[in-house]
């Protein structure tokens, strides 16, 4: 279905930019977890970008939603932005968009009041990123034909590849991490200069 109004184009364009921003936000989040760096940039740039790009993404999504609602070619109620499956038009795909957006809002709101929140609660909500992004991608690819062919299909494939690589990198880091109880033994093994005055092979102290 193609609409020819400016609103419809604006909605599609802002949607694409939002998807790219969210991809970047997710990758940056994984980078932070592994204490990685962006070459040439200080550490606070990684955390700062992660935060600011997520807020920018919200701004783009706000325009994306408003433009879609204001477009008169199809009838999309404003509520369907946050209430899943409340739209008559493309009920499933827009519903997924609402879900992704709801999860995003939860993540951002909890992060804004992070200092006052239970640590475990914040983390649990933030882990919903792993749900939110794929759902947002599904919404993007399903709700219009744009991402189903041509350059935009390639772009989507690239986003999937980048996220997959980042997730695998993060999981590899977790797999290599020594559990707390074994950490001291690990460091000691690395710095065991003269074992002469330490523990003998049979475990006794000399």
């Amino acid at each position: 279905m193609t609409g020819s109004t400016a609103f419809w184009y604006a909605s599609r364009a802002t949607g694409i930019v939002a998807l790219l921003l969210l991809t970047a936000v997710l990758v940056l989040g994984l980078l932070i977890t592994r204490q990685g760096r962006l070459p040439g940039l200080p550490r606070f740039a990684v955390t700062g970008l992660h935060r600011n790009l997520s807020l920018l993404a919200v701004a783009f999504i706000a325009v994306h939603i408003l433009a879609a609602v204001l477009d008169t070619f199809v009838s999309i109620p404003l509520a369907s932005a946050v209430v899943p499956f409340a739209s008559g038009y493309e009920r499933l795909w827009l519903g997924l968009g609402a879900i992704a957006f709801d999860l995003m809002l939860a993540m951002i709101v909890t992060s804004l009041v992070r200092g006052r929140l239970n640590r475990r609660l914040w983390r649990a909500v933030h882990l919903l990123a792993y749900v939110s992004w794929p759902v947002a991608l599904a919404h993007s690819m399903g709700s219009s034909r744009d991402l189903q062919h041509g350059v935009l299909l390639d772009m989507s494939a690239a986003c999937i590849a980048v996220v997959a690589a980042a997730v695998l990198w993060r999981l590899a880091g977790a797999a290599r991490q020594v559990p707390r109880a074994g950490r001291v033994a690990d460091v000691m093994a690395r710095h065991d200069a003269a074992a002469r005055y330490g523990r003998a092979r049979d475990g006794s102290w000399r």
């Binding site: 932070i32 204490q35 550490r43 606070f44 955390t47 700062g48 200092g115 640590r119």
Partner: protein, 77 residues
């Protein structure tokens, strides 16, 4: 007990403290507030134990918010 010696501070002033268990040595704090925070040779923060000067209070609050591990705190003595 928290591993820190108690310091007498003026009432109303706040001091930066790090939760050493939550801290994993991201190092963002030392970049944002080098006046009060340095890193040791292992990447962990060494924090000036004196109260935060009023001129740096706002920066200190931003630094606390920026810690990815939420390990930094501003405590009232």
């Amino acid at each position: 007990m928290g591993g820190y010696q108690a310091r007498r501070a003026q009432p109303g002033t706040r001091t930066l403290r790090v939760d050493p268990i939550q801290c994993t040595g991201h190092g963002v704090c030392a970049e944002l507030l080098p006046e009060l925070i340095a890193t040791d040779e292992w990447g962990y923060p060494v924090i000036d134990p004196r109260p935060v000067p009023p001129a740096l209070e706002a920066e200190a609050r931003k630094t606390v918010a920026a810690c990815p591990a939420l390990a930094l705190r501003l405590v009232r003595e």
